[in-house]
């Protein structure tokens, strides 16, 4: 009786996570199923990192397509600083955009998971835009920046001078989840900003924070930092 309820408890716990717990063993090795699942997840993770977001999706979402200084995936992975700046062509393109009186600038990127972008951004973007506009906020042209890092929002901030900025980008894939997205946001983005000036809502995916829910949470968070005129560690968000 005790053993059975203990097993039920562990089975219940296993249902709550994609982490590899209680996967069993066959002698000294993993079971064949566990081994195959590991290989499958690893392949998914690699695909997410290496694959590019299709251009037609970017057009469908009406995003202005830009790129970071990382000229390819390998550079992006090996040299993290390259992802923090727009390349020259993108700077020129962005500078030609209307940039007066932008309250919120939305940036999206594949980051470390193109799958995260493809699965979540199409759901988040319309709701986020609508919610921000319903508050009377002026939202800048929504951007897609290939191979961006979080700090790229500061470079965009220097050009468009928005009051607040948000970047939605794919997280580093794990072995259970390869489509997790994060939303980093910041008040008055510029080059003098540091990590502690930013806030983040992470774990946005089907098994974590659902994208539609995240869109509304992020919209409320942006409204909050605009009213407080600050962001980062001094602002508390419980996302409740």
């Amino acid at each position: 009786m005790l053993v059975s309820s203990k097993n039920n408890f562990i089975e219940g716990l296993k249902q709550t996570t994609t982490a590899r717990i209680g996967i069993g063993r066959a002698g000294f090795r993993y079971t064949t199923n566990a081994q195959l699942k590991f290989k499958e997840d690893l392949a998914c993770a690699r695909d997410s990192v290496r694959r590019d977001v299709p251009e037609n999706l970017i057009q469908e979402l009406d995003l202005l397509s830009l790129a970071s200084r990382a000229k390819d995936r390998k550079t992006y992975l090996m040299s993290t600083s390259e992802g923090r700046f727009l390349n020259e062509e993108s700077v020129a393109r962005l500078s030609s955009q209307e940039n007066s009186g932008i309250d919120v600038q939305i940036i999206t990127s594949d980051g470390l998971s193109s799958e995260a972008f493809e699965r979540n951004v199409p759901q988040i973007l319309p709701i986020l835009l609508e919610r921000l506009k319903s508050e009377g906020l002026r939202v800048g042209p929504a951007l897609f920046v290939r191979r961006a890092r979080v700090a790229l929002m500061d470079h965009v901030g220097e050009i468009l001078k928005p009051k607040a900025s948000i970047i939605l980008l794919g997280e580093r894939p794990g072995l259970g989840i390869s489509d997790s997205l994060s939303g980093y946001f910041e008040y008055a983005p510029c080059f003098t900003r540091v990590e502690s000036d930013r806030n983040v809502l992470s774990n946005i995916h089907g098994k974590g924070i659902p994208p539609t829910e995240a869109a509304l949470m992020l919209a409320e968070a942006l409204i909050k930092i605009l009213s407080l005129k600050k962001s980062g560690m001094t602002v508390r968000f419980d996302f409740a």
């Binding site: 709701i127 919610r131 089907g206 924070i209 659902p210 539609t212 829910e213 949470m217 996302f239 409740a240």
Partner: protein, 423 residues
């Protein structure tokens, strides 16, 4: 924890206070505080509950027995009392007077279940494995039936037969209800013992599945006909079970003692339970959970505090012709896809009339999305507060209410679920 059990029935009002100890293993023990209260249920001339007298009696009992304020407890309206016009408002008043009390008007099925569990019929059934046991709680206005086997309640029913449907004065009889008149018409005469004989005949025949003489006395019928052809063991509770030694109607003014003697005369295996007051309090209690939704959608003018709001299921929403002005709803939707949440929100918006105030409780993380889609289209609609990550982990029945308070300093909504919990 101090728990009050207050049972306002057709004839009697019973109250008991118990100190409940629950150890870390979840084992419970009970200790009764002071003497339980048992009085005739006071009514006004209009057959409403006499609120002033009931409150006075309860307050006097609490003072006299030095009973501490309750942490939890149950206020039950049963039989005719639950049909009194002021039962709901009076229940709300008492549960605000003693916070923590769950006020409930029991439907006949619940009444049957609670009586069966509280009177010890379940334990009796566990002793007689494989044999059907029928428990009858014979009250002043109604008789509640429960069919048990191997400790499980399989079915319930209710008849409009009780001991206080007549008033006897110097051999003259006056009828309090139409049902009383009908029962009297089946009797050989109008004497209490003759009425008691008919009442017992009808009760026992009903246990055997015979309904031909019942007329309109059947309030809630048996749901199935399983095994009621054979004569089972009977377990009796209610005022009748406590009538041992009562010779006439003088003390109670009803036919309880005669029904008791009539039952004793029958050639049947009958067990009487004499601890109904205590059993009710111990068998039923409130069960509270405190939650704060992880994600919230709140309409601007939604109240910051709600008390004793009824908790409904989606089925009840679908089937109820008249929904309460304010209620909570446990939403079954589990999905996180935008399309399904939107479809669900639209369905709910159509189903719940404008002007209602609804507290939605979701298990998944979808409250904001739901609120967004619910309020997206302009026009008249219900006002809502949606909370998610709320898990209602209770073994209790579907009779539940809840309190909600907005804690401004922490920007959290605290929710206390109060439900009848059958030990």
């Amino acid at each position: 924890m101090i728990s009050y059990g207050i049972d306002i029935g057709t004839t009697t009002l019973r109250a008991i206070a118990v100190n409940i100890h629950i150890n870390s293993l979840g084992e419970r023990s009970f200790q009764v505080i002071g003497k339980p209260l048992c009085i005739f249920t006071p009514y006004t001339k209009e057959r409403d509950l006499d609120e002033e007298r009931i409150t006075e009696e309860l307050e006097a009992w609490i003072t006299q027995e030095k009973i501490p304020t309750p942490d939890i407890g149950t206020l039950l309206f049963t039989g005719e009392a639950q049909r009194a016009q002021n039962a709901t408002t009076f229940g709300q008043f008492l549960s605000s007077r003693w916070q923590g009390l769950l006020s409930a008007q029991l439907n006949p099925e619940m009444e049957s279940r609670i009586a069966a569990l509280g009177s010890g019929a379940r334990e009796l059934s566990q002793k007689h494995l494989g044999k059907p046991i029928i428990h009858i709680d014979i009250g002043g206005g109604t008789s509640n039936f429960a069919l048990l086997e191997n400790g499980e309640i399989l079915d319930t029913a209710c008849l409009d037969i009780g001991c206080r449907k007549w008033i006897f004065n110097d051999n003259a009889i006056s009828y309090l209800t139409h049902q009383g008149k009908y029962i009297a018409s089946l009797a050989e005469g109008k004497q209490p013992e003759q009425l008691a004989k008919v009442a017992v005949d009808l009760l026992i025949a009903y246990c055997q599945g015979k309904t031909d003489r019942l007329g309109s006395l059947e309030v809630v019928p048996w749901k199935s006909q399983k095994r009621r052809g054979e004569f089972p063991i009977l377990s009796i509770s209610g005022g009748v079970a406590e009538c041992e030694g009562e010779e006439t109607t003088a003390r109670f003014g009803d036919i309880g003692p005669y029904v008791y003697r009539e039952l004793k005369r029958r050639d049947a295996h009958i067990v009487f339970s004499r601890e109904q007051g205590k059993a009710t309090a111990l068998g039923v209690s409130t069960f509270g959970f405190h939650f704060s939704g992880k994600s919230i959608h709140c309409d601007r003018d939604f109240p910051a505090q709600l008390r004793n709001v009824r908790l409904l299921s989606e089925t009840e929403i679908r089937e109820s012709a008249a929904l309460p002005e304010v209620f909570a709803l446990t939403a079954s939707i589990q999905t996180t896809t935008a399309e399904e949440i939107e479809a669900y929100a639209i369905k709910m918006r159509q189903r719940i009339p404008a002007g209602k105030w609804v507290l939605f409780l979701f298990q998944g993380n979808i409250a904001k999305s739901f609120g967004y889609y619910f309020s997206k289209k302009s026009g008249e609609r219900a006002k809502i507060l949606a909370l998610d990550e709320v898990r209602l982990e209770t073994r209790s029945t579907n009779l539940q209410t809840m309190d909600m308070t907005y804690a401004k300093d922490t920007d959290r909504y605290l929710v206390v679920l109060k439900s009848l919990h059958l030990f």
